[in-house]
């Protein structure tokens, strides 16, 4: 879809005057005017002219170029923004500048104008929207959830859907909540009788005992219900967030790698931990509190109006004002504490940083400056801390004073009514009790909206992941061969991770079963991308990848990958034992199979030397093993899997010569009889390859066997020469 933004009438008129009847094919708004001042400016492709037009009172067309004169368009990256330029006869002409906010959009515009200039059709790529489609608010980088438009009701309903399996307990919680609140309403009423019928007449010991027993009974009962309800709510909250986390994790495992490209793991981890934790708080704490508070307020209001509606009105009138006041005090308090916690975070970073580089500090004799730097941050922290504490020390007593003032009104008006004998002294005492009872719930409700919306936003972020279309790796494709011969063919494959740049261009080659293909080229040339397409981590944009003559898209992905073995450049081990790591791809492997694989991988001998042998813990990411050891474990893992197609991203890790030789030996054994794709760095591997592909900027520039290419004295020969020089240096170094 071409970029076609709604052009203002005045701009349209200005263009129309110059080129009547020209069809607008591309139109995009930039956010910088001349001199880098914020403001709108328009870039248009109208008919066969590229136009730039100011926006304002009287729009002026400032640039008007015939498309035919332009060879291509480029983006010039600036500091804080970028400029779109047209190249005319080798000259670069600035068309329009924009801030980082529009970088993505103008990347697309450039692509489209470029296509138009070269007479190619405009390729369709979806735009990465970073604004809410409803209100236009800028969204977070890895979410589509708009805090302004969030439909709270819908999220809440969906969340409650998770409670459905536990309906019985939920009902019980509600019953306990209502009855607990109702029982809680009794004590002030009992106090009224205590005052009116026992204390004032100074008699009725029996009634006194009865009333005290009643008070004791209600408080024991309501405490018991409170405990029961709280425990149930904790159980339910935990249960629901457990279910949510389980769904979330399973979804994460099945999501496509494209999704992972766009969402850093940190953001996903926080959804799994913090966001689902927020949901738990909401369910276990906030929701019951909200419901309980509302019930309590309604209950108290009813009782007050029944007792004396005039006094009830008088007692309740100031409540909203008190709430507002306490709310604003609360905000100030929270701000002060947030500022304090933030400074704690910065303080923590500083100390962490400083202590981690203590060796460097000493080596450069910078202890005094470190102490000064620490002093400044420490002082900043002290100041914020004092402010927060002092605000607390002032606000809390003041808040209680404000909240308590409600009862002053009851004393005043209730006292007057009592003097006129319109109500009893007991009524006044009961009123005081009730008014006191609703202070906290009212205060809580005044805070709850913000609280609630945060928790619901968290819940929505969780749902967002759950709603993301997964790879459905299980369901894709239907052909699931029991064995693969391992013939691989790429036919005119085009591919790019981002629309800005195409990574593979018209890549075609064919590998016979059991043959070895070496991929050669500078980093970024597209070697790893070919591997990614072969493993079907991504699908080609255009062209086909065929395995044994079948399109890879028709193969059952889940089954297909069972025939793949991958040894990556950065050998990835997970924390666990060596045996577990080798058996990762085949969890039911017997110890003998594991040892056999390790033997072939030249790993067995060093493994048994470990104190715990195959049961040795490798540490986080295999940190307790050397680079060469990790590599050989990964090779053993691939051998155990016995794949038809092997992917080898060779390590360049600096290992000593003997280790290198052992790894090399293991690799040679591993690739025997398998179709192998090797991203080769070692000369020996390059020589062993049946065919070599030399990639440059996503294109195959040379294709053939080692000798052929060497004789050709082209790119490969050049790389080879450079390689020989550096490996000579490397050899010297190793000696």
């Amino acid at each position: 879809m071409p970029v076609l933004e709604q052009v203002p009438e005045s701009v349209r008129t200005a263009v129309e005057q110059r080129h009547p009847g020209a069809e607008v094919k591309v139109s995009a708004r930039a956010d910088l005017r001349n001199g880098g001042v914020f403001g709108d400016k328009w870039l248009l492709l109208a008919g066969d002219r590229v136009l730039v037009c100011d926006d304002g009172e009287a729009p002026q067309v400032s640039t008007d170029l015939p498309l035919a004169d332009i060879s291509n368009f480029e983006i010039d990256t600036l500091v804080g923004g970028a400029a779109l330029r047209a190249v005319v006869n080798g000259q670069r002409i600035d068309l329009i500048s924009f801030t980082n906010a529009l970088a993505d959009r103008f990347g697309r515009v450039r692509e489209q104008l470029d296509a138009a200039a070269k007479g190619k059709p405009i390729r369709e790529r979806e735009e990465r929207l970073n604004r809410c489609s409803t209100c236009g608010m800028v969204l977070g980088e890895h979410t589509r959830v708009c805090p302004r438009c969030l439909r709270r009701g819908a999220v809440l309903r969906r969340l409650l859907g998770y409670a459905r399996p536990y309906r019985g307990r939920l009902t019980l919680i509600m019953v306990l909540l209502v009855s607990g609140t109702a029982i809680g309403l009794a004590p002030p009423l009992l106090t009224k009788y205590l005052v009116d019928d026992v204390l004032i007449p100074r008699k009725n010991v029996h009634l006194l005992l009865l009333l005290v027993a009643g008070l004791a009974g209600t408080s024991i009962l309501s405490t018991g219900m409170e405990i029961w309800r709280g425990r149930l709510a904790a159980w339910l909250g935990g249960r629901i967030s457990f279910d949510l986390r389980a769904d979330l994790y399973e979804r994460l495992q099945w999501l496509s790698l494209r999704y992972y490209d766009k969402h850093p793991t940190g953001a996903l981890i926080s959804r799994l931990t913090q966001d689902s934790g927020g949901v738990q708080d909401l369910l276990a704490f906030a929701l019951p509190m909200v419901v309980g508070s509302v019930i309590q307020i309604i209950g108290v209001a009813i009782v007050l109006f029944i007792m004396n509606w005039k006094l009830a009105i008088l007692a309740l009138i100031p409540v909203p004002f008190l709430i507002m006041l306490s709310h604003s005090l609360w905000i100030r308090l929270r701000k002060a504490w947030h500022a304090y916690w933030y400074r704690w975070g910065r303080f923590h970073t500083l100390v962490n940083d400083a202590l981690n580089r203590v060796k460097v500090t000493k080596a450069f004799s910078q202890q005094p400056s470190e102490v000064t730097r620490y002093g400044a941050r420490n002082d900043d922290l002290r100041y914020a801390g004092v402010r927060a504490e002092q605000t607390s020390a002032t606000m809390f007593p003041f808040m209680w004073l404000v909240v308590g003032s409600g009862s002053l009104l009851v004393w005043l008006f209730g006292g007057m009514l009592a003097i006129r004998a319109q109500i009893t002294a007991g009524d006044v005492v009961a009123f005081l009790g009730y008014v006191g009872m609703i202070q906290f719930p009212l205060h809580f409700l005044s805070q709850v909206t913000q609280w609630l919306s945060r928790a619901l936003t968290a819940a929505e972020r969780v749902f967002e992941v759950l709603d993301t279309e997964s790879d459905s790796e299980k369901s894709k494709g239907s052909v699931s061969p029991a064995r693969l011969r391992g013939e691989v063919e790429f036919q005119n494959v085009n591919f790019g991770y981002e629309r800005h740049q195409q990574v593979l261009k018209e890549v075609s080659f064919r590998v016979e079963p059991g043959h070895m293909l070496g991929l050669v080229g500078k980093s970024g040339a597209g070697k790893t991308t070919i591997i990614n397409l072969l493993c079907r981590f991504y699908d080609a944009d255009e062209g086909d990848v065929l395995i044994d003559g079948t399109n890879v898209k028709d193969l059952a992905l889940w089954e297909y990958r069972k025939h793949l073995g991958v040894v990556l450049q950065e050998p990835f081990l997970f924390s666990g034992t060596i045996a577990e790591n080798i058996a990762y791809g085949k969890p039911d492997a017997t110890p003998e199979e594991i040892m056999a694989a390790a033997k072939v991988a030249n790993a067995h001998d060093f493994v048994v030397n470990k104190p715990d042998g195959y049961d040795e813990q490798v540490g986080e990411r295999g940190g307790r093993l050397s680079a060469g050891e990790r590599q050989r474990i990964c090779i053993a893992r691939a051998i155990l899997r016995d794949p038809a197609i092997l992917v080898l991203d060779e390590a360049t890790a600096s290992v000593d010569l003997e280790t290198e030789q052992q790894i090399q030996e293991a690799i040679t054994r591993l690739i025997e009889g398998r179709t192998t794709f090797a991203i080769a760095h070692r000369l020996s591997t390059l020589r062993n390859a049946d065919q070599l592909i030399v990639l440059e900027d996503g294109k195959i520039v040379e294709y053939g066997a080692h000798q052929e290419l060497q004789a050709k004295k082209g790119v490969y020969a050049g790389l080879l020469e450079m390689h020989q020089k550096t490996s000579m240096l490397g050899a010297l170094h190793a000696d």
Binding site: G36, F38, V79, G80, N100, A103, M137, E141, P147, Q450
Partner: protein, 179 residues
């Protein structure tokens, strides 16, 4: 002594403002001549310290057309003070710097509203007024010193607050609310 070609690999070369002339050729491109010995085509003018010392140490990089070098962008030298150039050169260098460095300075916060931890603010800057969205603002603020901030908004645009204490009271209140 000025030798042709880029500076030696080990030594910085400071250019004498008297020797440097920047002009726009008939073909519309910007050229820089250095002591009439070297002519650079479409040179780049880069600030060495864009934030802490934007006016000094302008690096001039470029290509000598007649020697047919590739556009490698080698540094030819540094200008300690470009304001001592002749007026035409000064105008062009200023234009080039303004084009490259979109570096808005915050002068006032006109309004700020909070939506569950995401703030929508209207910033007045030396480049005009703009509505910005701030997200996780505390993680997107860099303190250059105790009174100078760089704020990055949700769209990856950066705003410089050269001196908090120079802002008006209302702006400082808004800032305090988010930091």
């Amino acid at each position: 002594m000025l030798t042709k070609g880029p500076a030696t690999p080990l030594e910085l070369r400071y250019l004498d403002p008297e020797d440097v002339h920047i002009f726009r050729g008939e073909d519309g491109l910007v050229y820089a001549t250095i002591r009439d010995e070297v002519t650079l085509i479409s040179p780049a003018f880069l600030r060495s310290h864009p934030l802490t010392d934007p006016e000094r140490y302008i690096s001039i990089k470029g290509t000598i057309p007649k020697e047919g070098m590739e556009a490698r962008g080698d540094e030819f030298g540094l200008l300690r003070n470009w304001r001592r150039l002749d007026p035409e050169s000064r105008r062009l260098i200023e234009e080039q710097l303004a084009r490259r460095y979109l570096h808005p300075r915050l002068t006032r916060i006109i309004s700020l509203e909070d939506y569950s931890g995401v703030q929508v603010a209207v910033f007045e800057t030396d480049r005009g007024v703009r509505e910005v969205t701030l997200r996780d603002v505390r993680d997107n603020v860099i303190y250059l010193d105790s009174n100078r901030l760089l704020i990055t908004d949700a769209e990856n645009n950066r705003y410089d607050v050269p001196d908090i204490t120079a802002l008006d009271r209302q702006s400082r209140v808004y800032l305090a609310r988010i930091l």
